[in-house]
């Protein structure tokens, strides 16, 4: 039985007066893909962002409960958020490469971490681009602007950029929702390969994608965790009617 890499315990989050997460208790297993599904506004993205404390950037956010990474509560006062984010990478819905060259984009993370040696940087860049299955497409264009790549390539670039900081966990917020089907399937294939080394949590509004790609699925509705289990069970024998209604498309 895989041990839980991340656990949330009674996590409740308010944006001002509005409750976005209601008492969520959930285990994310190491080196597996966990999908978060649910209708718009159900809290799945909010939950994802609590895992690397990106919600701290939003004013008037109140959080109670715990999020434990490797059994250590990341919401304790003395936690260094900047360091936390080096351990937990994030890929966003719309790819957001910096207005720099491909090389500089990937090298950004390591440079921030103090790696200056050119040789080491080049190694890291090559490794990351290969791991993200985009090396062949950009190896001759390392010094060209990253903005010149196609949408699908940019997103894989962002994944490579995250890999470059050597995280243990990768969070993905609807990574393929802005992409065409072929790019989407490339990203899904990539996720399959990446889970051997990283714990992955992916938010998706596309249920078939969740079904294809994940080992475990969590269904959120109105801020509550309704059901959590093995993906194949959720999609063949869900235990809650709400889950059944959502995945068969009868609501939401």
């Amino acid at each position: 039985m895989a041990e839980a890499k991340i656990r949330s315990r009674n996590l409740t989050l308010h944006y001002g007066n509005k409750m976005a997460l209601d008492n969520v208790t959930l285990d994310i297993h190491a080196k597996q893909v966990t999908a978060l599904i649910g209708p718009s506004g159900c809290g799945k993205s909010t939950f994802l962002r609590t895992l690397n404390r990106m919600n701290d950037l939003i004013p008037f956010v109140k959080i109670s409960g715990e999020v434990l990474v490797d059994n250590y509560n990341i919401y304790e006062d003395k936690v260094d958020v900047v360091n936390l984010r080096k351990k937990i990478g994030m890929v966003f819905q719309k790819s957001n490469p910096f207005a720099k060259s491909v090389f500089e984009n990937i090298a950004y993370g390591p440079k921030i971490n103090g790696i200056k040696d050119k040789k080491k940087l080049t190694e890291i860049v090559e490794f990351s681009l290969q791991r993200a299955a985009i090396w062949d497409e950009v190896k001759d264009r390392l010094n060209d602007s990253a903005l010149g790549l196609s949408g699908g390539q940019q997103q894989r670039l962002c994944i490579a950029r995250t890999i470059a900081i050597n995280p243990e966990i990768i969070l993905m917020d609807e990574p393929a929702s802005a992409l065409d089907p072929i790019s989407t399937s490339k990203i899904e294939e990539l996720i399959f390969q990446l889970k051997t080394d990283y714990t992955i949590v992916i938010v998706t509004h596309n249920m078939q994608q969740a079904a294809r790609v994940s080992d475990n699925t969590a269904f959120f509705y109105m801020g509550e965790l309704v059901e959590f289990g093995r993906t194949k069970s959720i999609f063949t024998v869900p235990s809650k009617k709400q889950t059944e209604d959502y995945i068969t498309g009868r609501f939401g």
């Binding site: 895989a2 249920m207 069970s233 063949t236 024998v237 068969t248």
Partner: protein
């Protein structure tokens, strides 16, 4: 405005119920023909089989289409998977009813064997079983499963007894061998019909509850019944893909 998908599911439901109804009638008719030696009825049964085959085809195609064009999950998925199985079982049942119909002609002479055997009870049981089968497909009521399993066990037992009796009679009077053999074959087909019915019941449980339930049975030679009703529950599976492959 009902979704297109739900209309397709309803279509499948209707066709399946129709199939069950037709096959049940086929079996009832076969029983009647057997009891009364009605060759005309037997001919009708054989004719009807074309209808059964056609419907079988239509149901298969519909399931295929739904799979390809929608991505059914959960109950819908289980329903369509099971529909294919149930459809298959019904079609086989129909085949066996036809098989019995073919033999009616050979049973016109030496009907005293039949009366000796007192087939009336088993026939009544089988007709009741057909009723239950149609009911469980229509209502998807898992409470009927126990009744079906019990009745099924009873029928198996009776068929076993009948079989032994026929062999006894054959040993006594060699001139009835043809009739007796045909009767034996008919009993086999009745047993198959009963077996398919329990399959169908199991499929319905799978639709409703997502559990695989198996009803296995062993009947020993000297009419002692050893009844294994295994309930293998396979609910939410917590093994990983890799663990499962091993």
């Amino acid at each position: 405005m009902e979704r297109h998908f739900e209309m397709e599911l309803e279509k499948l439901n209707v066709r399946l119920k129709k199939m069950a109804g037709i096959v049940a009638i086929q079996v009832n008719s076969a029983m009647k023909a057997l009891m009364e030696g009605d060759v005309e009825l037997a001919k009708q049964i054989i004719e009807q089989d074309r209808k059964v085959d056609k419907l079988d085809n239509k149901i298969d195609k519909l399931c295929q289409r739904i799979f390809a064009l929608s991505q059914p999950v959960a109950t819908d998925l289980r329903f369509i998977m099971s529909s294919l199985k149930i459809n298959n079982d019904l079609e086989r049942m129909g085949d066996h009813a036809v098989g019995i119909a073919y033999k009616i002609e050979t049973l016109i002479e030496n009907r005293e064997v039949i009366s000796l055997l007192n087939l009336g009870e088993v026939v009544a049981d089988l007709n009741k079983l057909m009723e239950l089968m149609v009911a469980i497909i229509e209502q998807r009521n898992v409470n009927l499963v126990k009744e079906i399993f019990d009745l099924s066990t009873k029928i198996q037992f009776k068929l076993q007894t009948l079989s032994a009796k026929i062999i006894e009679e054959m040993a006594k009077k060699s001139e009835i061998i043809v009739v007796a053999t045909n009767l034996m074959l008919i009993l086999t087909q009745l047993e198959r019909i009963e077996a398919y019915t329990t399959n169908i019941a199991e499929s319905v449980v799978f639709i409703v509850e997502g559990k695989l339930v198996k009803h296995a049975k062993l009947v020993k030679e000297n009419s002692e019944i050893i009844d294994f009703t295994e309930n293998i529950e396979i609910g939410p599976d917590t093994r990983t893909h890799q663990e499962e492959e091993q």
